[in-house]
């Protein structure tokens, strides 16, 4: 129990160093919250778009000759279209009509779910869809729709990786710098008979407390900033809405604790290597 007490006391005693560490961690966590929130939001947008796209079905006559028109292809009448549309597999339909003609290739059938495609195609063939008409999904409009989101997702992922690497590097550097100072303290504790694992626990508790405080502030600030940042990076239409969900928060917490533990482990591995007598001799 006294280990926790000592750790908390230590936090207060080394304000300068801890505040520096805290600011770094806070910046890393806030940036990670922004990046991860955007990443997750785009991920779900892409997923929804994919589901939506997979339910959008069109038909068109297959070209028989290069650069040709629909010459020679069988025709599909408005009546045909209405018969196709009358299906249990569909949740809706948008029939294209223009110049008095049925425009099969401008008609969109909305499937109730993506995997009904083959059943629906078979049904249309049965109802008289000619063999030289193809049933397809509109890939290019999907690409067009998804491109700005994917772009944002790429940016956020790259940013996330850079932030985490940068954060890890800074934290490790800081803890290596702090070791000299702490080394003497650890020598003293060990000379008083404190066990290695208690010394380690003590250091770990300190880092975890700092991490947790930074986590709370990082989450708050990151959440507040993630919408404006996403807005600035968003090149698509309309606006994008980012909200932090519980999973993202947990991911960030996990990552920060991991970062703290790695940092702690780096110092610990360096410190526990030394016998207390060696540390104290170096100093005296």
């Amino acid at each position: 129990m006294y280990v926790f007490e000592h750790a908390l006391l230590n936090l207060g005693k080394n304000k300068g160093r801890n505040i520096l560490l805290g600011i770094m961690l806070f910046a890393v966590i806030a940036s990670a919250v922004i990046a991860l929130s955007i990443f997750n939001a785009t991920d779900s947008i892409i997923e929804n778009a994919r589901i939506e796209f997979n339910t959008m079905i069109q038909i068109r006559p297959q070209r028989r000759q290069m650069g040709g028109n629909d010459n020679g292809a069988s025709t599909v009448t408005l009546e045909d279209l209405h018969r196709f549309a009358d299906s249990d597999y569909l949740s809706g339909v948008q029939i294209g009509v223009g110049g008095g003609f049925a425009r099969g290739n401008e008609t969109v059938f909305y499937l109730r779910s993506p995997e009904l495609l083959y059943a629906f195609e078979a049904e249309m063939r049965e109802k008289g869809l000619p063999d030289d008409w193809a049933v397809f999904r509109d890939e290019s409009s999907y690409r067009r729709m998804i491109a700005p989101i994917e772009n944002l997702q790429d940016i956020s992922l790259t940013f996330l990786i850079v932030v985490m690497l940068f954060g890890a590097a800074i934290m490790i550097l800081l803890s290596v710098i702090a070791i000299r100072e702490r080394k003497y303290e650890i020598g003293v504790l060990r000379a008083m008979g404190m066990k290695k694992n208690k010394v380690v626990l003590c250091l770990w508790v300190e880092t975890i407390v700092i991490t947790f405080v930074c986590f709370v502030f990082g989450i708050i600030v990151g959440t507040v900033l993630s919408n404006p940042v996403a807005g600035a990076l968003w090149t698509g239409e309309g606006q994008i809405n980012i909200a932090l969900n519980g999973i993202t928060a947990l991911q960030i917490l996990g990552a920060s604790l991991l970062l703290a533990t790695i940092t702690g482990a780096v110092s610990v591995s360096r410190i526990t290597k030394y016998e207390p007598i060696k540390i104290l001799m170096e100093r005296n």
Binding site: Y2, E5, H6, L9, K13, N14, E185, G187, V188, L189, R190, A191, M192, G193, M194, K195, E275, P276, I277, L280, R283, N284
Partner: protein
């Protein structure tokens, strides 16, 4: 019956070819004050490091209550059995005197309910006021720091006290009062007290005096003057 004993102890620092001392045999008994004198660099602190369980002999063994220190849990030995006053003091300079001592008691597993109260009375005994007790070590004078280190070494009521120049920074009067404490610990409470010193005064309270010269310990007779 000896409580602490050296048996054929030889010591040399890692990477060095020169023995600091060779084949040393010594017995330290409870209820006695021992002083060890010797020139600077003779190896006195090196010996105390062995006695304090901070270092192990290159050859031979140091035993506490017939147990070889090299084979026992030396954390526990340092925390419970021995009270160590280092030449370099080794206090947490950023913490207060009180915090240093309470922490040491915690490490030693002292069951005392009110550790702060015990600490204040200990510090008072070595002449550190309440006001100074709550100051950071850095803001205390050398002699005050030395007395905090002494109080810390005594806080867990150890059976064995090992002190390296514990009165080096003290004026004669303060030195006297500290020496009274050491003397009483050995002669009234039956502890074993081992002090490295250059001071004549300290040797006055000694029951046995040892000199270390060129790696050899010799028992000395007290100066009769």
């Amino acid at each position: 019956m000896s409580t602490l004993a050296l048996q054929n102890v030889t010591y040399k620092y890692e990477g060095s070819s020169k023995n600091i001392f060779k084949d040393v045999n010594m017995d330290f008994e409870k209820g006695k004050v021992y002083t060890i004198v010797g020139k600077s660099g003779a190896g006195k602190s090196t010996l105390l490091n062995l006695l304090a369980g901070l270092d192990t002999a290159t050859e031979g063994s140091v035993t506490y209550e017939n147990e070889n220190l090299a084979e026992m849990n030396r954390n526990r030995y340092r925390a419970k059995n021995a009270g160590i006053i280092f030449q370099g003091l080794n206090l947490l300079t950023n913490a207060t005197a009180i915090d240093n001592i309470v922490l040491s008691m915690n490490i030693s597993g002292v069951s005392e309910r009110n550790k702060k109260a015990k600490t204040y009375s200990l510090l008072e005994k070595v002449g550190i006021s309440k006001e100074k007790a709550t100051r950071k070590i850095l803001k205390l004078s050398g002699g005050e720091q030395q007395r905090v280190a002494i109080a810390r070494a005594l806080a867990h009521d150890p059976e064995l006290i090992v002190a390296d120049e514990p009165t080096g920074n003290l004026d004669k009067q303060t030195e006297d009062s500290i020496l009274k404490i050491f003397s009483s610990l050995a002669h009234d409470e039956g502890k074993c007290v081992i002090i490295v010193t250059h001071s004549k005064k300290v040797t006055n309270i000694a029951d046995e005096m040892w000199g270390l010269d060129k790696g050899v310990f010799r028992q000395m007779t007290k100066d009769k003057k």
